[in-house]
Symmetry: C2
Subunit: 238 residues, 2 copies
Amino acid sequence: MPPLTPKALIFDVFGTCVDWRGSIIAEGRALDRRWGTAVDWPALADAWRGRYQPALDEVRSGRRPWTILDVLHRESLDALAPSFGLDKLDEAQRDHLNRVWHRLTPWPDTVAGLTRLKRRFVIGPLSNGNFALLTNMAKHVGLPWDVNLSCELYRAYKPKPETYLGAAGLLGLRPTETMLVAAHYSDLQAARACGLLTAYVHRPREFGDKPKNDLPADPTVDVVANDFEDLATKLGCC
Amino acid sequence: MPPLTPKALIFDVFGTCVDWRGSIIAEGRALDRRWGTAVDWPALADAWRGRYQPALDEVRSGRRPWTILDVLHRESLDALAPSFGLDKLDEAQRDHLNRVWHRLTPWPDTVAGLTRLKRRFVIGPLSNGNFALLTNMAKHVGLPWDVNLSCELYRAYKPKPETYLGAAGLLGLRPTETMLVAAHYSDLQAARACGLLTAYVHRPREFGDKPKNDLPADPTVDVVANDFEDLATKLGCC
C-alpha cells in the first residue's frame, strides 16, 4: 500500500466526534430537574435517533424537498413528545430541547486528537447536521475545525455522492487527497466509492450498552483507529 | 443607539484582513531571485487587482456563468504576463504564482484581533475568494476562523444581497445578529441594505502610498475602528 497522503480529513460527527446519546441523557436529566418532568431519556434518545434515517430518506428519495436537520429533528421531537410526557412543553422549551443537538459533547479523546490532526491536515465536519448546528456545537465544546463542510452546502444527505465529492471540491482537492473519518462502515464505503481515503474509528459506546459491531472482519478501509489520538499517531501527527 | 449585539462577525478579506499588495510584492521579489525574472511587482500587483472588479462584473451581470476567483485570477495573470516579462513562465510556475492569493499575509493586528474576537463571537470570512483559497490562506498564516463563508457557497459575488443574507442564513442568524467587518465602505453599505450590522476598519496602506479615503465624513456604519485590536476593544472583548 502506498503511504497515505491526505491533505484534508473530513469527519462524520454524530457518534464519531460526539456522544449524542450520552449528551441527550445527561442534558435531559438536568432539564427534568428544571421543568419538573420525569422522562425516560435513554428511551427518548434512542427513539429520537431512530427517526433520523427514515426522515433523511424522505429527502434523499426526493419525496420531500431539501429540509435541514433542525427541522427534521423538531418534527420527530413533536411526534414523540406525547409518549414521553413532554406534550406540555411550550414552544420555547421545545426549541431549547431540539437544540440539544447543537450542544452534544465530544468523546474524551476528540478535542485532543483533532488538535493534533489540525497541525498537519485541514480538518472539518462532513455531517448531515445543518451548518448552524455544526457551528454552534463546535463553539460550544471547542471542536477546533478549520472549516464547516455541512451537507447543507450540497443540499444532499450522506451517503449521496455529491456530499463527499462536494466537500473535496470546495477544498480544491481530488477525492484521493481527502479522507473521511467515521465510526460507521456504511458511510466510509460510500466515500470510498467516490474515491476518498477512509478511516474507521471505533466508538463502542455510541449506543450505550447495546453492542455496535458494524466493521466487517476484513474491512476495505485505509486506517482503523481506536480513537482520535490513535488516528493522529497512525497518520504521523506528533 | 441600542447596544450592539451581534452573534457573528463576518469579514471581508482582501485588504481588510490581509495585505494583498504587500504580499504579492514581497513574494514576487523572492520569485525573481528564484526564476531570474525582473518584474515590476508593485505595478503587476496593481494591474492584477485592477482586473478584479471587471472580471467579477462579468459574473455579477450574468454575462458569464458562475466562475471561481482562482480561474478569474489566472485569466488576468495570463493576460498581463507578456507586459511584465512573465510570458516564459511554464504551467507550474503560473499556477504557483496564481496561488499567491492563497498565501497573502495578514496585517500586523489581524491574528491577535481575531483571536480576541473569536472568544466572544463566531468569526468567518465572507469574501469573493473561493472556498479553497480562503481555507489555504487561513491555514498558511493562522487566521483562526470558526467557519468559512466564501461567496462560492452562494455562487454570487459581493455586493449581491444573496452573499450577505446567505452567510447569515447558514449561521442560523437574523441579519441584525450578523456584523460585516470591512475596510471598504461600499461593501458595508450593501450589507447594511440587507439589515446587517457594520464595522469599518481603517486600512490606510491597502494601496501602498496611494491614499485611500473611501469613508464619508458622516458614515452610516455601526462601528469605526482603527484596526482589529481596536475593534475587539470596541465590541467588549477582553
